[in-house]
Symmetry: C2
Subunit: 514 residues, 2 copies
């Protein structure tokens, strides 16, 4: 029953696949590359980059990530021939490709989703793993909804997958239903039923619907799993996946207890969290473990007590260990393009050509206003330059007047493929008026679903980051924009979200898995 | 070793005490009452309302809660005579008072925080429990930093506390360091060492620094605990406390597994979450289990698969069970004050007199703009009326002009005790200019720490809710305001936060515990 693997847990990051399936997240290839590069700096062992069959854009996203990083890149696939071939196609350029095949093994999924017999599932698993194996030696197989599956049937499928060449077997708690003791028992039962499991890597993949994703993942590790599938900030379907930073810091902080290590460079955790939060538009709540704003903060009063005298009275981790207070690169208004490029490179952004040109313009504007530019400001500018490059519409100008008791007036000019268009509108406040004017210009019936603003850094001259989610025909589209002027950022973010919605008049089929 | 208690877990909610100790949260007595009333509707067994000795305002907050609810109200206290007496004083009017005494039992806290010997700690526990017991029969005793304490010494202290009259013994993981198996072993070891523990209620109190608060709490229940201390949305010191909604829904969803129940009315969970988020200014991330916006959401593509055909393919809980789609009260612009009062009462708000008058004015304004007013709108209006009543300053008017490429201009008029004052300012965008004008009027050097806007409901006519956190002399002050016009809401929220900061020129001593 005891697993033969060593004391290292592989971190399989699925931020770009399961995380990206969260409502409203739509990363373009450039954004996927930036996140993948940061994940590589973070030291993850495997990056799951997408679900290639789901759309051409998705396939190209996986390919772009494959070209950008050296670590293992996984591409998800169902068991059909076309599915597997799309995954293979997306990994052609990967230095270390992994095809990740999955099929549900629970009766509820067989009956209501797949409408397949157990024999068909078994055959599908065999076929897909073998087909993937012909392309690359590294093949992972997942039993979707494993925790609600008949253990004997699941064991049969796992044996078949290993026989066909699978080198990693993943037992996901797809619906976030299991609890630690139960999950450990399922995994131990599988070891008992499938002796061949000793020769491959067992993996866990947990969802947080009942708040147990991290605890279940760790129970899995204790039962023999040596790969944990997780995401930055715990994003993912519904309540999300197990949070990478919690898994890693739990194993690191309680090292003597678990006697397990990971290859993660923990000092890159906070930056990875910020980048993912910014590019996905998913905020991190202040009381989120490890990466929340308060995770290392104590209310003022406590300083009268023990913390200053002896930090370990209340702190079990060092804020430096997760990179909370990294060296703060500061540029001034006289810094040139070379200095900016170097500073961005230090932050991990590879920005060249037109992107660098745009980032430099933004940098200069901001430096004129703020004087000093911190690394947080630079991260925001760099992310925004990445977003901007593929836009069909550009905000040319915004003018607003408003006074208490009167309707706000906005005049907006947008530059598109057919030249500039200007519209005016009234509204309850300036932002409402601006959105109304943009609606007139684009002429699509979007509904505003969410609108939020956060400050990138503190202080009155802070960059404001606006996140907008709009809905069109049942689909949601999100975007972000940053500016020291929040009405400008609001207009920019709304325009981008609406442009995405407009571009998606022919919605592509979207799929989920695991 | 097996505990004698039945299969009911008491829910001890500490949102108003440990939750309220989060940086930037400062609830006034009215806000505490509203939350306490909602907690009572939610069915919590015990409400910890505050830490009476920490300030006069805190003591009065506990008293106000004591007067407002029928359930057990706990007041926290260290072991000193004045501490205990303040707790007792705060509970004079409580129908079911509980004094909650705590003292640290770990050597690290004894040495670095308390500077006390073990004998002194033991004596302190005895003294304080006995003194509390003379006032009320219901006394809880907590060993602060229990999970890092010497088990034998902790057992000694627990025996002394029980001998002195404690009826609940709480074993907190104050620093969020423990893991489930270890925590269960600590509790089982305590049962072995202290046979008298069988005659009292064992309680758990877990922090989420490593993401294990819920798993640890449940491990505690499995080891015999029948009280769980937790907070709405998991707010609290640092990464927060165990999240009430996760504990409760885990026990409810996995009822056959744990065979434990709570007295919680789960249909009140979502509303409780919204109220606490709104009044504390602490947002809930979209992927938060149970109460996050996405917790019950599936990405669009999935509908092509199983969910519509058979919800249980991906859903393990019913959204109705947590009150996600409660009956949506809708009022129109012809609804009168009586209808508003009734609708607010249905939502659980007891709003009378001037508060009702103000709420009615807000309601009419909004009804004129939106036509239909939903329960979410009403909740926002009601919360805002509660906030407004104690303000020393009132926003009289705001006027703004801004155009791309030029500085924004703002003119703000504020009514205070000394009459009206008007100031103008320029800024990077309208909000910056408005804040500048308010700074000129109030004349205090606050720093803007955080600024965020969320929409109360979807749609272009949504109420925007602005949250502002400012810092003055090392302390943070937060406030919120709602309006369909976000510049107006921004001005209002900023003015309130600055007014709080100004009022607190003499900072009171603040304490933390457990």
């Amino acid at each position: 029953m005891a697993p033969p693997h060593e004391n290292t847990v592989c971190i399989f990051d699925t931020t770009l696949r399961d995380g990206e399936q969260s409502p409203g997240i739509a990363l373009n290839a450039h954004e996927k590359i930036e996140i993948a590069r940061q994940l590589e700096r973070l030291g993850v062992d495997i990056i799951e980059a997408g679900f290639a069959i789901s759309s051409q854009g998705e396939l190209e996203g996986v390919r772009a990530v494959s070209q950008a990083v050296e670590c293992v890149v996984a591409s998800l696939s169902r068991t059909g021939e076309e599915d597997v071939d799309a995954a293979i196609e997306s990994l052609r350029d990967a230095r270390n490709p992994r095809v990740h095949v999955f099929i549900a093994t629970s009766d509820i999924h067989l009956q209501h989703k797949l409408r397949m017999t157990r024999e068909q599932v078994l055959e599908g698993a065999r076929f897909a793993v073998a087909r993937a194996k012909a392309f690359c030696s590294d093949v992972e197989f997942s039993c979707e909804d494993a925790t609600r599956s008949d253990p004997d049937f699941m064991a049969q499928v796992v044996r078949a997958a290993i026989a066909a060449g699978a080198t990693t077997i993943n037992i996901p708690d797809t619906v976030g239903y299991t609890v630690p003791a139960e999950y450990a028992a399922i995994l131990r039962g599988l070891y008992d039923r499938v002796p061949e499991l000793e020769g491959v890597v067992l993996s866990v993949h947990c969802h947080d619907d009942l708040g147990m994703a991290v605890a279940n993942s760790i129970a899995g590790v204790e039962a023999g799993a040596r790969q944990v599938e997780c995401t930055i900030n715990g994003i993912g379907e519904r309540a999300g996946n197990a949070s990478l930073e919690e898994i890693v810091m739990l194993l690191a902080t309680r090292r003597p207890h678990y006697n397990m290590e990971t290859n993660i460079v923990t000092q890159e955790i906070v930056r990875s969290s910020r980048l993912v939060s910014r590019l996905t538009g998913y905020p991190v709540q202040p009381n989120k473990a490890i990466v929340g704003r308060n995770a290392f903060a104590h209310e003022a009063g406590i300083h009268q007590h023990g913390v200053l005298a002896h930090r370990r009275t209340y702190e079990i981790m060092d804020a430096e260990s997760v990179g909370l207070h990294g060296s703060d690169i500061v540029l001034g208004k006289h810094s040139g393009r070379h200095a900016l490029r170097q500073a961005l490179a230090d932050l991990g952004f590879t920005i060249e050509g037109d992107d660098l040109k745009r980032a430099f313009v933004r940098f200069k504007e901001l430096a004129d206003r703020k004087g000093k530019i911190t690394s947080l400001d630079l991260e925001a500018i760099a992310s925004d330059s990445l977003r901007e490059r593929e836009e069909a519409y550009r905000l040319a100008s915004v003018a607003i007047t408003t006074r208490t008791g009167e309707q706000a007036q906005a005049e907006v000019t947008v530059a598109g493929e057919d030249g500039e268009q200007t519209a005016t509108a009234q509204g309850d406040g300036p932002v409402d008026a601006v959105f109304g004017a943009i609606n007139r210009i684009l002429g699509i019936p979007v509904t505003l679903v969410e609108y939020s603003i956060g400050a990138v850094t503190g202080g009155a001259d802070a960059l404001g980051e606006v996140r907008v989610v709009v809905e069109l025909a049942g689909r949601t589209f999100s975007s972000q924009a940053v500016s020291t002027d929040i009405t400008e950022a609001s207009a920019e973010a709304y325009l981008r979200a609406c442009a995405h919605a407009k571009a998606a008049t022919e919605p592509e089929q979207e799929l989920i898995g695991v």
